[in-house]
């Protein structure tokens, strides 16, 4: 079970859920959150085109840098200025993310 990591996800009601997420299935964080049946709108399905999978990252895990698309989408949705903002669909799950803590942004429930 080495391939499974745990991620702490705080929902819009402030409740923290610890979810198990496999790293060997090519999933991104948005998909793992959705697979655990937590409410996340993720309208565009993972193309970095809608910002309804916006999360705030609260732990110091090393994450891949933002692509231009991700940065542009966050900017367009007025979210780039909110510190620690990421699109969870752009965070591909890796072992290095074990213990990651994120909070769902308001747009995930819009």
């Amino acid at each position: 079970m080495d391939e499974v990591i745990q991620v702490k996800v705080t929902d819009l009601d402030g409740v923290m859920h610890t979810i198990d997420a496999p790293t060997d299935m090519g999933l991104n964080l948005m998909e793992a959150i959705r697979a655990n049946e937590l409410p996340i709108k993720a309208t565009c399905g993972g193309m970095a085109l809608c910002a309804t999978c916006h999360v705030l990252v609260h732990s110091n895990h090393p994450l891949p840098p933002m692509s231009e698309d991700e940065e542009a989408m966050l900017e367009q949705a007025f979210l780039l200025d909110i510190p620690h903002s990421r699109l969870s669909c752009q965070l591909h799950l890796t072992q290095a993310m074990n213990g990651l803590e994120v909070e769902l942004g308001e747009s995930t429930g819009a």
Binding site: T43, G45, M47, C50, E68, A72, E75, Q76, A77, F78
Partner: protein, 348 residues
């Protein structure tokens, strides 16, 4: 109801059809084809100005790999093909209008009115609304809503409206760039305001905007944002804050056009008495009927056990749905499944 001369005078026109389809995305377009094969006419309503739904609006240049028979197809090309496939059945379109309210008439048919007042009637309503209506993303500026239609526009329908005006555009994507370029020749002045220093649009559009700025045909303000609007009844000035210098400046503006993309909302459908599961409409997988007889829901907007939001699943749903719609319209007629290989496609 007005009739005769009086109706002509008031331009009172009712669009009548068999299937009134809300949403001109892939699923709505394919419904036209499947309905056409069994001789049902269709009319599509969409809040966007072009058919294609999110394929046209969000990702026209993205390849799709899971349409049967197409190893890969660009979303925009799939829409073009769906329109071509539907063409023999002469669908009607009410575009750029949002389906607002429905009402059951005495004859059992539905009357649907859009936000612009266009009236449609049909025995069947098909909701193929995808993620809902695309609505403009609005920046948080106080008084923004007060100046809507008094200088603030989110969607440009008639560029001539801006002839001779002082126009301020905000945004960093293709629509902001494209409209800046277009309006540079129409408006008295164009100012493009962007919160960052780089643009994410097509490279040639970015270059054109830079060139226009160099030749002073437009004013380009980077690292800046509109932070307040001023005016009496109509917009007169916008206040601009520069992040680098933290300075505020005022600029004359007849029009302010914030272009920050569109985001989908379920919209007025919410209040039609349909059962809802969050933002989706539960249906019976027998025929994709909703809880209201005569209203069906197909594609991304519906929900049932095992639902997958895939275009190909929406096509299947539409195909089964039209059979049920036919039987509802013509309860005494028998419907025989015909293969297009045998019968071909008989245009209207």
């Amino acid at each position: 109801m007005f009739s005769g001369k009086f109706a002509a005078f008031l331009n009172y026109h009712v669009i009548e059809t068999d299937l009134l389809i809300i949403g001109a995305g892939p699923c709505g377009l394919f419904t036209v084809f499947e309905a056409g094969l069994i001789k049902l006419r269709c009319h599509l309503i969409d809040a966007l100005a072009e058919p294609g739904g999110q394929l046209t609006e969000i990702y026209p240049k993205k390849p799709i790999y899971d349409i049967p028979g197409f190893p890969d197809v660009l979303a925009g090309d799939l829409v073009k093909n769906l329109i071509k496939q539907a063409e023999p059945f002469k669908p009607g379109f009410t575009l750029g209008e949002r389906a607002e309210s429905i009402e059951k008439m005495e004859n059992g048919h539905w009357k649907l009115v859009t936000n612009k007042g266009t009236v449609h009637t049909a025995p069947i309503i098909v909701i193929a609304g995808g993620l809902g209506c695309f609505e403009p993303r609005k920046p948080e500026i106080s008084q923004l809503e007060r100046f809507e239609d008094q200088g603030v526009d989110y969607i440009i329908k008639d560029p001539e409206k801006f002839r001779g005006k002082h126009v301020v555009i905000a945004g960093g994507g293709d629509s902001a760039l494209d409209w800046t370029i277009f309006l540079a020749d129409v408006a008295q002045s164009v100012t493009l305001i962007h919160r960052r220093t780089s643009f994410r649009g097509h490279l040639d559009s970015v270059q054109k905007v830079m060139d226009l700025s160099k030749s002073r045909k437009i004013k380009l303000l980077l690292n800046s944002e509109v932070t307040a609007l001023h005016g009496d009844l109509k917009l007169e000035q916008v206040e601009i804050t520069n992040f680098e210098t933290n300075e505020n400046s005022l600029q004359m503006a007849d029009n302010f056009i914030p272009l920050f993309g569109l985001s989908p909302k379920l919209g007025p459908i919410k209040s039609w008495g349909l059962n809802l599961n969050k933002e989706s409409i539960p249906v019976d997988t027998f025929d994709y009927g909703t809880n209201i007889p005569g209203i069906y829901a197909v594609g991304d907007i519906n929900d049932y056990p095992g639902k997958l939001r895939l275009i190909l699943c929406g096509f299947h749903e539409a195909t089964l749905m039209v059979q049920s719609a036919f039987k509802r319209i013509y309860p005494d007629k028998n419907l025989v499944l015909k293969y297009t290989t045998v019968s071909g496609v008989k245009a209207f």
